[in-house]
Symmetry: C2
Subunit: 418 residues, 2 copies
């Protein structure tokens, strides 16, 4: 579990318009100044700060991914825990234990809804459904809930499970995980005081599994619990866009790096895992948020810019008069024989020459994970514009050494409050 | 639309343990003191007050019901509007218009999910799914949202749709509508400031209708809109328990009133609409919340107490050594030929005599609505213990004349703040 990836993404997203709007609503709402809205001076209550900080970490689609279920597990759990740790001291060790537990349970519940025997509805925004559970479990652990109250906390969290894939490409793509973080906090706080819930909210036919799936097996959630760790399948993104776009980006970057400066692309043909078109088939993105779910935008940007980073998600790149027409000359074909981390690209130049690239495993995938230096570079690129170089270095080293901190919230928040 | 029924239910529920717990969490959370937590001195922000007041109005299962869908529409809408009206002046006329609009849209969306061609999952807690939409529409109206922002508000509300029938019989039965109220407020406030959402969150296959139903027709929502008023099918409850129990209560009260004082019941056989057993089949309730969904408890209480009011939902009645064994001697058989407001009871005495009752339409049903004096009595029974007789009278007359108020929130809150 790398807390630095989450914290870097918070800084990366904290100045986005969606966050500014939500922070204005939080200011109007009030809330005891218990925790930081990271990236500014405003403070609010734990649930509100968890919401805002998870919105920041999610809004650029740059956070982590459990690829088998396309869950982004760290946001809701880390945002809930970090906000709480500013109100009540938690040691680094306890923080990491709770973070790992929340992510593990969240990914396992995502498996229940998304993997066989479940035949999932494509509209399920799984981070919104299982995020509240992960956050509530993590917070329940640091609150020391007994078994009955932990069961209620999980039930209260599941009761707030919500969100649809339809809203991808809008600010609500970030709202859903943020709402999950807030819901998990609310669930744990209510359960801690004895707010009752059913003992089988998750597994009942009239509960979580029954409503969100007609064929899921809730027993999957506990298979090998404590022995097999689902969180080891969590990965970190090199590019700020939908994870299923990444193999296509790699293929296009590979080709772009072999192109002459004056080569002109006639047409680019991609073969992709079918989910890539289902989730990221946006043909003509108009905004950075729409571009996050546009395979075509990122393929075009990678081919022309030879890069796929934060600049490629800016409005200027989306409106670029060279990029937009190239998006229209990209054809993408679903190929069920490909894995989710695979893609094949074939580019034909106006000269008649063709170049091919076959990506076996995308950068950042489980088989080809981002290295520590790459993750540090990603952290710095997102954090430095907000904190400057010295404080960025200090924050990175605190995140790296989080297990040794006495009090995570105050030790880390000191970086931006001192 | 009777605002007094909702307000009375708020006072009826405001001292329940679930409300005390949630109010303690609200106190810990803070929140600008914009609106009353009705029934006490504490104030909090609009979204928090909407949550608390809807929890109060829902927790005794005494609020209103749209029987075709078993939606309780007024709670989320009225709680959101009333809390907002304490922050920003709204005339009685505007308040009523927004309340009617919110309830209308909520009931119509419930029809989409629950009525043919939809084949609904029995776990759907429809008030939690459509309540956020009703509340957001009502608040969006008083905020004067333009069409685009109203669409976003509805989408943000649908994004927070949540809750399962599994949690009935626990405090979460009240949490779900309360969460709907809060979600509606949050949706309208974010949309008002330009937080974007999809334009087809409701009707998309990857959105609200697609996730919560495989066969619903979203077009139902707008059939005859402005001509046919679904809110005219809303009804008020004479008994504080699940609406599908009511015809059995009427049948048992009818028989009880014909019994000799020393008659001893050997067995009672009920024939009920199948939904009555699905939703309220709790055999051995241990708590007042479980009793709300126990057909058997209310039949036994009605037979022995000749009454089915607030005293019959108390723990003392649930634990009564005469009531508990009688619950075990009640047999209930589902009969698809019966309507939801119908029931047949046959009671056999130890003397061998039998008494029958056939209820064609339950008290409080559309065909036999509660009268104004009955509703006033219900209001007074719930409000008087909190406010005393004089202020109860004053509050009732303000609710009756709400259309003439200049500023609903301040005019009404004056009853408990002066």
């Amino acid at each position: 579990v790398r807390s630095s990836n989450w914290m870097g993404c918070v800084f990366g997203g904290c100045r986005e318009p969606a966050v500014a709007i939500a922070a204005a609503v939080a200011a109007e709402t009030g809330g005891a100044p218990q925790a930081s809205i990271i990236g500014g001076q405003q403070r609010t209550d734990v649930a509100g700060a968890a919401f805002l900080n998870c919105l920041s970490s999610s809004i650029l689609a740059f956070d982590d991914t459990h690829l088998a279920t396309v869950t982004h597990p760290t946001g809701p759990v880390a945002a809930a825990l970090f906000a709480f740790s500013e109100k009540q001291a938690i040691s680094g060790e306890d923080f990491l234990n709770a973070l790992a537990l929340g992510i593990e349970i969240q990914c396992r519940m995502s498996n229940v809804l998304l993997l066989p025997p479940a035949n999932p509805n494509l509209g399920l925004y799984v981070t919104g459904l299982t995020g509240p559970i992960g956050a509530a479990v993590a917070l329940g652990r640091v609150l020391g809930l007994d078994e009955q109250r932990m069961v209620w906390a999980i039930g209260l969290a599941a009761t707030q499970a919500a969100g649809f894939r339809e809203t991808h490409g809008t600010m609500v793509a970030g709202f859903v995980p943020a709402h999950a973080a807030r819901s998990g906090v609310s669930a744990a706080m209510l359960a801690a005081r004895g707010f009752t819930c059913s003992d089988c909210t998750l597994e009942s036919a009239k509960g979580f599994v029954g409503v969100f799936s007609s064929d899921a097996d809730p027993g999957r959630a506990v298979e090998g619990l404590g022995h097999r760790f689902e969180l080891l399948s969590n990965t970190y993104k090199p590019y700020p866009c939908g994870i299923v776009i990444h193999p296509s980006i790699d293929a296009c970057l590979d080709i772009a790096n072999r192109l002459d400066c004056n080569a002109v692309i006639a047409v680019a043909a991609l073969r992709v895992h079918p989910l890539a078109l289902t989730l990221t088939g946006q043909r003509e993105p108009k905004t950075p948020l729409e571009a996050q779910v546009s395979l075509f935008h990122w393929a075009a940007a990678a081919l022309l810019h030879r890069s796929a980073g934060l600049p490629e998600m800016q409005q200027t790149c989306i409106d670029d008069p060279a990029i937009a027409p190239l998006r229209a000359r990209i054809v993408a074909t679903p190929d069920p024989a490909l894995g989710r981390d695979q893609a094949i690209a074939e580019v034909e130049l106006t000269s008649g020459a063709t170049l091919c690239a076959h990506v076996e495993h995308a950068r950042g995938s489980l088989s080809r994970p981002m290295t520590d230096p790459e993750l540090d570079t990603k952290f710095t690129a997102q954090t430095c514009p907000r904190l400057g170089r010295d404080r960025t270095e200090r924050l990175l080293s605190l995140c790296r050494d989080i297990s040794r901190l006495q009090s995570v919230g105050s030790d880390i928040a000191a970086v931006w409050t001192e």
